[in-house]
């Protein structure tokens, strides 16, 4: 196990030797790369990363260039977790068989979008976690298939307009509830599961470090505001992220599972002093614009009830200690 990198404040953090370089082709203001930098700069250990097809992979590895200054592997859209579990097993075997192959600690990470996690990559993720490989899985959750032009996924929230759940005269957009992937991964008995947002950098770095130190598979759901498909100005990414956290649309919490006692420990890492109405979060984004018409106001009311219920649920689990 490597040493935990000391990161007390941003000044200290800013001395990191960057491992994800500019020159990639992600849209201006894309949160994917902010999250990636916060995670890869949170450790000094060697890294081995797999990336599923999606904006991050496509834009960071346009031939003949790569933005990754770490060991990096890509195979398909549906198998980031399968690729990293095979890599981790190979690394273990070679380190045992070949003297001097790799004596320093190596950390394994899989990055995938929500399409590559909640939908198409779900079975490979579930299998890799079940087999107990030692890796961190990070879902860059921008609530849709953005690289192919913004189709709905099982992470798209109710009322969101996408190209396959368009809003119009008769429809308010997406009808299905967003899947609770964080709870599903906790149910896989991952010892560490957490939700993060890029604007809360300290919380994100701390959780990444916890995941690096935890043996076995860990899961991080990183909400990733997408200016292009959520339809807001690129300079607003961190504003949207902050309001997302302060309205509890993206509660910052973690779940630790104890394999001895089979107990789940919920921790809410941030309680907004002044909880904002979800309306404020929605008003920032073009994908919810239609909901502000009088005939669709019931969707916003329902959102508020759902978000309040979810927030209440997480805090009750925390208070009950189970």
């Amino acid at each position: 196990m490597g040493e935990i990198k000391q990161i007390k404040n941003l000044k200290e953090f800013s001395t990191s030797v960057e491992r994800f370089q500019g020159g990639h082709r992600l849209c201006p203001g894309c949160s994917h790369s902010i999250i990636v930098r916060e995670i890869v700069n949170a450790t000094e250990d060697d890294l081995c990363i797999s990336t599923a097809t999606g904006c991050l992979e496509v834009c960071s590895t346009i031939y003949p260039f790569t933005s990754w200054d770490v060991s990096w592997i890509h195979i398909g859209f549906e198998n980031a977790a399968a690729a990293i579990s095979g890599t981790e097993a190979m690394h273990k075997a070679l380190a045992r068989k070949k003297k001097g192959y790799s004596d320093k600690p190596m950390k394994f990470i899989a990055f995938a979008g929500d399409g590559g996690t909640y939908d198409i990559g779900f079975q490979s993720l579930s299998g890799a976690v079940e087999r107990g490989h030692d890796f961190m899985y990070v879902c860059l959750d921008n609530e849709g298939y953005m690289n192919t032009g913004g189709q709905r996924s099982s992470s798209t929230p109710v009322g969101g307009a996408t190209t396959t759940s368009p809003a119009g005269r008769v429809s308010y957009g997406e009808k299905m509830q967003k899947k609770d992937m964080t709870a599903i991964m906790a149910a896989h008995r991952c010892q560490y599961v957490a939700q993060v947002a890029p604007s809360s950098w300290k919380d994100l770095v701390k959780k990444a470090q916890k995941a690096y130190q935890t043996p076995g598979a860990t899961y991080i759901n990183a909400m990733s505001p997408c200016p292009t498909e959520w339809k807001f100005d690129p300079s607003m990414s961190m504003e949207v992220s902050k309001v997302m956290v302060d309205s509890c649309v993206c509660p910052l919490y973690e779940i630790e599972y104890d394999p001895q006692t089979h107990n789940y420990k919920y921790t809410v890492n941030y309680e907004p002093k002044n909880k904002l109405p979800v309306k404020e979060y929605m008003a920032l984004q073009g994908r919810f614009k239609h909901l502000f018409k009088p005939e669709f106001s019931h969707v916003i009311d329902q959102w508020q009830r759902d978000i309040d219920a979810q927030w209440d649920y997480i805090r009750r689990r925390q208070d009950a200690g189970v």
Binding site: V17, G22, S31, P234
Partner: protein, 132 residues
């Protein structure tokens, strides 16, 4: 990418080859010819951030939130803007907590001296915020 690279079959690559973390003096760091650092995205930019040294408190919010690794810190202070990789998204200016801001977006063709002369005044209505 060299001719030699292109002609290699998958079975000729070394199994389990690893790239280790960079160690040593960051200022002496050299990048591989295929690193995207050698690719310019400067032509994406419509607006560019301009830095005003006199106002900056070196909080590094702009560094941590830049999606294009284009704020280059130096010894825990603001160092410089990398105009080869900056796409002009405006996040650095948005998160800058000083009043007036130390990073302001100007039209890409504006000369730096002209931008500094036309710096916005202090916003009297806004409280300084320093949350992260």
């Amino acid at each position: 990418m060299t001719e030699e690279h292109l002609l290699k079959g998958w079975e000729e690559f070394e199994a389990g080859a690893l790239l280790f973390s960079f160690e040593g003096d960051p200022s002496q760091r050299k990048f591989h010819e295929n690193n995207s650092i050698h690719h310019s995205v400067a032509d994406w930019r419509v607006l560019k951030p301009v830095f005003n040294e006199e106002l900056c408190i070196h909080c590094q919010f702009c560094w941590v939130f830049c999606p294009d690794t284009s704020i280059i810190p130096k010894d825990k202070k603001f160092g410089e803007i990398d105009y080869v990789h900056c796409k002009g998204c405006g996040i650095c200016s948005d998160v800058c907590p000083t009043n007036p801001k130390s990073l302001v977006m100007f039209a890409n063709q504006t000369p730096i001296e002209e931008a500094l002369r036309n710096w916005p005044a202090k916003d009297e209505k806004k409280k300084e915020n320093s949350d992260g």
